[in-house]
């Protein structure tokens, strides 16, 4: 029986990053994967959706070429080429992980992994051959899949999940997107740009409901201007797929409405992959669909760990990676600091983009802070004017007493690359003053951060 220092089950951004860091730290490592290296993120999540959204952005430029002094005779999309490009990008990334595994001398065990007692993992390959491996430490990183609602069963044809939504053979004329989290609005953004008639149905009062209310409201206005229909405080009661289209019964505050579309995309969250992986046999505790772990990702059974989507905390790729790195650094005996879950950026790569970190205004107030709020709209930014990207704003929230940067919320072009400043600033426990006196280059979108802080302290220049 082959013996490893560490076996990681699942090769998503949790698993494969964990394996690389473990190998760097001198461990002998194997990673078990039943599908494609890179997990949801590289194959069905972060990466392929961003490729689609890039095509959407470029298509948007084609359609507005004259705004920039340019002429286009006939702009069109080749839907299947757009999808194919996305698949190629994903494949390339997955191959990249393969290369990284080799380079770091990590064994890839292809097959379905199941935990056994005594820190063993049984791997069943595609020919149903079972092999058992032993390790000092077993790390569970089996991730998650699309959640199915009982009244919205996915048939993979007319009612689909995210995988199908990024590989449709034909562009639908109309689409109902159920759920307006990051995944839902990103697909809405993509299909709207492609020319599909999109309707978003959201149960809560605001779309992108985890964001600051001002972001949600402004985002909703912009989406509506683009022609996306938005139904908030609404839920899909049932779908009828018997006809040519799908018919959806939607319960709204005003009563029931009937919608029809080519396709319904269910984007109502995720379901963790915790079934049939041996948790019960080993005795590993779960709670509300998640594997229970402590600050260092140790489960209740010594030698077994869990990281990524399969545990509590936001289901994000960068969180999965950070958890995995911390987990193995702790195993290696390094002095580590637990992750501050209050300082994790969240991004939505729609058009315009959303990025945020820390508390929303409402959360800060509810937490009892006396706050200073500042806001700077891109409509007042020189760079935004030059770029034709005046939608959105940066909003900052500070504790009035000590000046702590409680939250930062951004809506606009390129903000997903701008939020890092706020995350680092908060990590370093800055106050508003230092941000204000940090000379931001002109002309950039990032100046809006400095100006928003200035606004919080009544020193804003360009408003």
């Amino acid at each position: 029986m082959s013996k490893y220092d560490i076996i990681v089950v699942g090769s998503g951004p949790g698993g494969y990053v964990t394996a690389i860091r473990a190998s760097q730290l001198g461990f002998k490592v194997a990673v078990v994967e039943k599908e494609s290296l890179g997990g949801v993120c590289l194959n069905w999540g972060c990466i392929p959706t961003k490729a689609l959204l890039k095509s959407a952005q470029v298509f948007d430029y084609l359609n507005h070429a004259s705004d920039y002094g340019l002429k286009v005779e006939k702009a069109d999309k080749d839907f299947s080429a757009v999808v194919k490009r996305s698949r190629n990008v994903a494949e390339g990334m997955s191959k990249g992980v393969q290369f990284l595994m080799k380079k770091n001398k990590i064994d890839v065990l292809n097959g379905n992994g199941k935990l056994l007692k005594g820190k063993k993992v049984e791997v069943t390959d595609k020919n149903d051959k079972k092999t058992t491996y032993e390790a000092d430490h077993v790390i569970i990183a089996t991730g998650a899949r699309s959640r199915e609602l009982p009244n919205l069963p996915q048939d993979g044809k007319k009612v689909i999940g995210y995988r199908k939504a990024m590989t449709l053979e034909k562009q639908p004329k109309s689409m109902i997107v159920v759920g307006s989290g990051a995944i839902g609005v990103e697909f809405a953004s993509f299909y709207n740009a492609m020319g599909t008639d999109v309707t978003i149905v959201e149960y809560l009062p605001n779309i992108v409901p985890v964001e600051d209310e001002e972001v949600s409201k402004q985002f909703e206005r912009i989406y509506k201007k683009k022609g996306i229909k938005i139904m908030t405080n609404s839920s899909v009661e049932s779908v009828d797929t018997s006809g040519k289209n799908v018919k959806a019964k939607v319960k709204t505050k005003k009563g029931e409405e009937s919608l029809e579309a080519d396709i319904v995309l269910s984007a109502v969250g995720i379901k963790t992959n915790i079934e049939n992986i041996g948790l019960e046999e080993v005795g590993i505790k779960t709670e509300k669909d998640k594997i229970q772990v402590n600050d260092f990702y140790q489960t209740n059974i010594p030698g077994y760990y869990a990281i990524g989507d399969v545990t509590h905390g936001p289901a994000l790729a960068h969180v999965a990676s950070a958890e995995g790195i911390l987990c193995v650094e702790k195993i290696a005996g390094m002095k580590v600091e637990a992750i501050d879950y209050g300082n994790i950026p969240g991004c939505t790569y729609s058009n315009p983009e959303i990025a945020s970190v820390g508390m929303t205004e409402k959360q800060a107030k509810e937490a009892g802070y006396d706050i200073k709020v500042g806001k700077f709209p891109f409509s007042a930014s020189g760079k935004a004017s030059a770029s034709g990207a005046k939608d959105g704003f940066v909003k900052v929230i500070f504790d009035a007493k000590y000046g702590e940067w409680l939250g930062c919320h951004m809506l606009g072009a390129g903000v997903t690359d701008m939020i890092a400043e706020a995350v680092l600033g908060r990590k370093l426990e800055t106050t508003g003053h230092e941000v204000l006196k940090t000379i931001h280059p002109h002309p950039t979108m990032s100046e809006a951060v400095m100006e928003a802080v200035a606004d919080a302290y009544d020193e804003v220049i360009h408003l």
Binding site: E337, Y402, L428, E429, E434
Partner: protein
């Protein structure tokens, strides 16, 4: 201000509680490289400023 670097936030809190740099230097720091964090200084205050 001693040889230690204190984050702007820690400085603000220290000022508010009249904690001198000498006193700050005695507070156990949990950040990497002995970086004193907001949580450290508040723990210390809650514990009745034992040092």
């Amino acid at each position: 201000r001693g040889n230690q670097f204190y984050s702007p936030l820690v400085e603000q809190i220290a000022k508010d509680y009249h904690i001198s740099y000498e006193e700050l230097a005695r507070i156990p720091a949990s950040g990497q490289n002995g970086r004193l964090k907001k949580s450290d200084i508040f723990n210390y205050i809650e514990n009745g400023r034992p040092f």
